[in-house]
Every structure is written in C-alpha cells, then in structure tokens.
C-alpha cells in the first residue's frame, strides 16, 4: 500500500457541546464505502482516537473528496517535478485523460480507488526512477515505444515495475547509472587525517624490491614433518 505523506484529516463534531475532534482519514480511504454519494458512514476499518461515548457525529463526504483532491495534486506535482513527465503523460499512466486528472485535482470528479492506487504507484516508481536515472527519468518511464512503455504497466494495474524500468533503462543506454550508489555518512573524524599532514609520503612508500627466497618457503610438504622428526622408539624419561 502506498503511504500518504500528509494524512488528510476531517473534523468530527460533538453535537451536544460543539466540541471538535480531529480524525485521520486514511482508514476511510481503504474502506469499501467509496462511491459518489455526498455522505458516507464509517466503515469497520475506522477508529476514533478519543472518548466518543457521549459523542454523536457524522462526516461529510466533501471532506474526503477534498482530501483526495489534495493528494492527487500533491502526487501529480511530485511526479512532474521529479521526472519531467507532462500532465498528459501522468493522466495516461493512470488510465484517464488530462481533463479527468484536472477534475480530480479541483474536486469536481472523485477518483476511484483503482485510479488512486495507480497514481500512488506511479509516484513511487517515479521517485525510484529519478533516484537511479536522474535527468533520464522521463525517457526511462516513457520507454522506446508506447507499446513497451513502463507507464503502460501502471495503467494496467501493476504497482512495482522496477525490473521493467531497469530493462527500459538498459535499452535506452542508461543502465549503468543505477548500478552503484555512494552515500557519504557522518562519522567521527577519521584517524588518518592527522597522519596525512604529519607524514611525508615521499620516500616511505613500499618499494617493489623482493627478498630472494627458495621455492620451499612457499611449498611446504607437511607430510615430511613426521620423517624430519621421528618419534622415539621407547619413552625417554626426563625430569622437567
């Protein structure tokens, strides 16, 4: 499941004293209650983290639509900024046209759960592609042809397409960009730094001179050890 970076919230109102509670919405987003009605009830997946014993409440569907609209806008802009994909390409990648994507953002159209999953998958894969292929991310995501485009796989419902992205990058000649990543880490001061300034490196580096040695130095036949040191035939008595 794709995590939402900034979970949308809705307001729960206690009708007795107008006290307000803030409720996280993601549990609702996973519920089966998606539809087009203006008001929806709580699903079994929803839990209110406050004492609701004396509280009667309802939730407006508009809050959910607005939360979805905000999320669509955030994901769309993130994909665009990181990869350079156009809004048209983003829309196609989740199986809608550009006008529908705009409708999702304005809240005029409520996206289905399948479209939201596709958009989140697109954002995840776009992040990964940008991280591994940098400025070539858009080319990698688009692929060499519409038929072989990794974006098409997301429109078909796939969520993890990294292997296909890797293959597309190989085809496009950007494969090596993702093979090695180097991340500096904050460590205590390395010990060698003082030595670098204190030592004169000239004249002390090892020379290539070897010390002549016989082959037997390196090829030792251990079975000869017994013959070289034969065990005594009878025990020797020696006080130690």
């Amino acid at each position: 499941m794709t995590m939402i970076a900034d979970p949308p919230t809705a307001t729960v109102i206690n009708t007795d004293d107008d006290e307000e509670f803030t409720l996280l919405v993601p549990a609702l987003l996973e519920a089966d209650a998606f539809g087009t009605s203006d008001h929806i009830g709580f699903s079994t997946g929803c839990r209110v983290a406050s004492d609701t014993g004396k509280t009667t409440w309802f939730m407006s569907g508009r809050a959910i639509i607005q939360a979805l609209a905000d999320e669509v806008e955030q994901l769309r802009d993130r994909v665009g900024a990181r990869t350079g994909l156009t809004r048209q390409e983003i829309a196609r990648a989740i199986g809608v046209d550009r006008r529908s994507l705009s409708g999702f953002v304005t809240g005029e159209i409520r996206p289905t759960e399948g479209r939201m999953l596709a958009l989140r998958a697109l954002a995840d894969n776009a992040d990964w592609t940008a991280e591994h292929f940098g400025e070539h991310a858009r080319e990698v995501l688009r692929g060499k042809s519409p038929e072989s485009s990794p974006l098409r796989l997301i429109a078909e419902g796939r969520t993890d397409i990294r292997r296909e992205l890797q293959a597309a990058a190989e085809q496009a000649g950007f494969g090596s960009a993702g093979r090695v990543t180097i991340q500096p880490r904050e460590s205590r001061e390395p010990l060698y730094l003082k030595a670098v300034s204190a030592w004169s490196t000239t004249g002390h580096l090892p020379s290539r001179l070897g010390t002549p040695r016989d082959d037997a130095e390196y090829e030792q036949d251990l079975s000869r050890a017994a013959a070289a040191t034969p065990a005594p035939k009878r025990p020797r008595r020696r006080q130690i």
Binding site: R179, T181, R208
Partner: protein
C-alpha cells in the same frame, strides 16, 4: 637500561607491522549497520545494485584509514620469488631475473591489513583490557614519536585485502620485539585463543615425559605425554622469514 622503541621508520619493501594510510572496506547488510568502534572507518555507504543480473544487491562500507600490515613478509614477495626462480631455472642471470620480476606490475599486488582504532573509542571500563592486550582480536599499539595518531589498538576482527598501489602513506613500522607480539596476537586470534599457557606448563612441573608424539598432518605441534597421561602440547613460535630458503620444516 635501554628500552627498544616500539616503532622504527618504515623503509624498503612492505613489512608485516608497517603502518599505512590506505582505503578499507567491508561487506554490510542492507541497513548499513555500523558498530561504534568502526564509526571513523565507515565513511561512505556503497550499494551495488545487481537487480539486472537477478542477484541481490551488495552493500559495502568503506573509508580511508590508518592500517597495520598483518600478512607475513613471505607473502609480500611470493609471486616475485616464484617468477625470479622460474627465470633462473630457464637460464636467466639471477640479477636480471630479479629485475625482470620487479618490472612486472602484476606480481604481489595485494596484502592483508587491519585498521587502527583509537583506544579512546572503547568504553572506559574495558579500555585497560584492550591496552594490556588481554582482549583476543585486538593488538595494542602506542602513539608514535611524531604524534600522528593516538594510542590505539589494531582491530584484527576487521581484516581487509588491499592492493599495494592503493597505499598513499607510510611512516612507521613495528620494531622486531613488537612484531613478535603482533604475530602472537594474530595466531592467538586466528587459531589458538588460549591465554593459559603459563598455567599448563606449571601443571607439568615435577612430572616426567613418558612419550613424544608428532602429528604427521601438522608440523606446528609436538605432544609431550607426561607420566600421569596428561598431554603437554608445544607449538612452534611464529618466525622471521629466512633469506635464501628454509633450513627446516
């Protein structure tokens, strides 16, 4: 009374006990976990993505470090000697054979080394044990005369194969006495581990030897069987390499 210095200026070819500036690396898991004592060594996290080969990624921690050469002197010119001896057998003059072998850049490229870790990086409560050489796997070294590094231990638990061409600095080498101590520390860590030699020998006092056994598969040890059937195992000490070939096995 004169006390032998712990260090001598390093010169000539690579020696066991040389202290160098060189890169080190170790394999880690995907979480790039760093034990506290290696914090100064692990300066970069490297991930080798092998997904296109359908293989797991390899994670490496690496950095530049002060290291001590742990491989034996004989190892450092093994291929040089093999090539030189081959050339001599084929009729080349010994001096010329040595020169030809020396010009071959592919010979004896690698050695083994372990990094230095400042004593101060260990927990204060256990520092004394490390300093006294009581902890198996760690060899204590004092600060050198030029103060280029503090009192430290050579961490034999971090062993690294390094190319000689990757060395960027060298100044000090252990003295002969200290080098013997290093060899015992290596042997103790890799094979023997026991620190009870004195107690074992004390237990033999007053007894007589009833038999001597030599293991034909292991030239390093001799077993002395005592009259109460206890066995005293003697182990040959690590030795300096002999020039011009071995005189014994």
């Amino acid at each position: 009374m004169t006390t032998e210095p712990a260090y001598l200026p390093a010169n000539g070819p690579l020696n066991q006990g040389d202290i160098l500036i060189a890169p080190v690396a170790r394999i880690s898991a995907s979480d790039h976990f760093v034990p506290d004592r290696w914090d100064r060594l692990d300066q970069t996290e490297v991930t080798v993505d092998r997904s296109e080969l359908d293989e797991e990624a390899i994670h490496v921690m690496s950095g530049q470090a002060l290291v001590m050469v742990t491989s034996h002197d004989c190892h450092h010119d093994k291929e040089w000697n093999t090539e030189r001896n081959r050339l001599i057998r084929s009729g080349v003059d010994p001096d010329e054979a040595a020169a030809i072998a020396e010009d071959d850049p592919t010979l004896d490229r690698t050695f083994q080394a372990s990094p230095l870790v400042p004593l101060a990086d260990f927990d204060a409560g256990s520092r004394g044990n490390y300093q006294a050489g009581r902890v198996v796997g760690y060899y204590p070294v004092p600060a050198p005369p030029d103060g280029s590094f503090p009192e430290s231990v050579v961490d034999l638990t971090y062993r690294c194969t390094v190319d000689k061409k990757a060395i960027t600095g060298r100044q000090w080498c252990l003295s002969a006495t200290e080098r013997d101590r290093l060899r015992y520390a290596i042997a103790r860590f890799d094979s023997f581990r026991t620190v009870e030699i004195a107690e074992t020998i004390e237990a033999a006092i007053g007894k007589s030897i009833s038999d001597v056994r030599v293991d034909t598969t292991n030239a390093l040890t001799v077993d002395l069987v005592l009259d109460d059937d206890t066995v005293l195992r003697l182990v040959q000490p690590p030795v300096e390499p002999e020039q011009g070939g071995r005189s014994r096995l």
